[in-house]
């Protein structure tokens, strides 16, 4: 008797991005599974597009990697033509268009985009699998642990947090939410981006 195939729960994932004062943080879990079996505990879900723009891809891992390669390709073409980096708003529209193109045979992913735009103003957004953009001023979540993440972020978030406090808040929200989800966890991976530097931290979490 096989488990009914739920495509978004095939690999398991948890992604969250939060806005702070002139900075943002994007965090993910590190588990890669094949339904209930864990295959890797150091899986990369958040990818850098350019110094101040990151995209996290939750859902089916193979589609996430394929889509990431297509997006990097499109961004490199853009950089060659325009001789500058893409703004996060533009990049979000690009991702939305690429996903909507596959409206009737979609990629099984949910992206979370976070970046610093003009004058280093933080920008975050998420989309469903066919590119419906959802901009938010506070936080966005995606993945199998999204319902717990909504609850944790809704209560722990405060506007205009400084980098240190933002890191603490996003880490606690991520770790407490993945503890309530079997399919994600095994540590956390947080990128904290301010106008001057990018801090990458790996969190210690429950390994179950």
């Amino acid at each position: 008797m096989s488990v009914k195939l739920q495509i978004f729960e095939y690999n398991g994932s948890a992604l969250v991005a939060m806005v702070g004062k002139n900075c943002f943080a994007i965090a993910s879990d590190r588990r890669l599974g094949v339904q209930l079996q864990t295959v890797a505990t150091d899986f990369q879900r958040i990818f850098k597009i350019h110094g101040k723009l990151f995209i996290g891809l939750s859902g089916l891992a193979s589609d996430a990697q394929t889509l990431y390669q297509r997006l990097v390709f499109r961004h490199k073409l853009y950089e060659l033509r325009e001789e500058r980096d893409m703004k996060p708003e533009t990049f979000a529209s690009l991702v939305s268009a690429i996903l909507y193109e596959k409206r009737f045979g979609p990629y099984f992913i949910q992206p979370v985009i976070a970046g610093l735009g003009d004058e280093d103003k933080p920008f975050i957004c998420t989309m469903d699998s066919i590119g419906a953009k959802e901009l938010a001023k506070d936080f966005v979540v995606a993945g199998t642990a999204s319902e717990s993440l909504y609850g944790a972020c809704e209560s722990m978030f405060k506007p205009d947090m400084e980098a240190e406090e933002l890191f603490e808040t996003i880490s606690q929200a991520l770790l407490s939410s993945v503890d309530r989800d079997c399919l994600s966890g095994w540590g956390g991976h947080v990128y904290l981006v301010t106008p001057t530097e990018v801090t990458e931290k790996i969190l210690k979490g429950r390994m179950d």
Binding site: Q6, I7, G105, D128, S155, E168, T199, E200
Partner: protein, 273 residues
């Protein structure tokens, strides 16, 4: 070389190359993914000087509220706006597409866009996809021929009405309109009636919620009143907020300073004669 061709940006329109793989997965027992829907209450009415459109601001993903303050009143032309219900990606994509087509049409003809133009473009697109593009729209605007209000259904049929409601909260909103609407409303009466209809949807329909957005379109002027009413403020915010006494345990830290972009301005050499 043929693989490369697939990744170069195409001419637009839908691409069906993942359909075969997805159908194979469905035959293996896959449940298709749920898309972001705008459960919604959207309304429109015609008053003495023009058209008023209203919408709630909740976007749902199954039973979860994904966005508490999304925008459902989309810009089509300076004198035409469109509210969208159904699958969020479809309403956004179809209204953006027709908005661009209207702009090109304005450049071509040199005239202000007419509501029936937007109507025809939308209905022919939706009909050609036989209802698979799930967008239910309330289109309203004021052009040279006067104020117009239309509803467009996902299969491509349209209605022209003096007042209209769409979405999961349409019955709640229509109840308010049917009892209180009359011809020749003033601007303030119209706005009050639209707000009341949307509130009826927000409080009685589970798929609609949060705030009320209103757009008033009159000849030569439009007012987009984003978050006109906020009847659901968050009242349980703790003043202190959360403080974490125990710091998160970090296994590894890597700090990458962001390089300052240096502008190199080369002094131009004079061209040799």
């Amino acid at each position: 070389m043929s693989e490369l061709a697939g990744t170069i940006p195409g001419k637009g329109g839908f691409s069906f190359d993942l359909c075969r793989r997805n159908d194979m997965l469905v035959s293996k027992g896959l449940k298709p993914p749920s898309f972001l829907k705008t459960g919604t209450t959207i309304v429109g009415l015609i008053f003495q000087d023009g058209v008023i459109l209203g919408a709630d601001t909740r976007a749902t993903e199954g039973p979860i509220v994904a966005d508490k303050n999304c925008e459902k009143i989309h810009y089509m032309a300076p004198n035409i706006y469109c509210c969208g219900a159904g699958t969020a990606a479809d309403t956004e994509a179809v209204t953006d597409m027709v908005s661009s087509q209207l702009k090109l049409h304005r450049y071509h003809t040199g005239r202000e866009s007419r509501v029936v133009t937007a109507l025809t473009l939308l209905k022919s697109h939706l009909f050609s996809y036989q209802g698979h593009v799930s967008a239910a729209l309330v289109l309203g605007g004021v052009d040279v021929t006067g104020p117009h209000l239309h509803t467009i259904y996902p299969h491509g049929s349209t209605d022209t009405l003096p007042f209209a409601t769409m979405g999961s909260g349409s019955l709640a909103a229509m109840a308010i309109f049917e009892s209180k609407y009359r011809e020749g409303l003033t601007r303030d009466e119209g706005v009050k009636l639209v707000a009341e209809a949307i509130c009826s949807g927000i409080f009685n329909d589970l798929g609609s919620g949060s705030n009320v957005d209103i757009c008033v379109i009159t000849k030569g002027k439009q007012e987009y009143l984003r978050n006109y009413l906020l009847p659901n403020p968050r009242t349980y915010v703790s003043e202190k907020g959360y403080t974490f006494s125990k710091k998160t345990e970090v296994l590894f830290t890597k700090i990458t300073p962001l390089r300052e972009l240096v502008e190199v301005i080369e002094a131009g050499d004079a061209m040799e004669e």
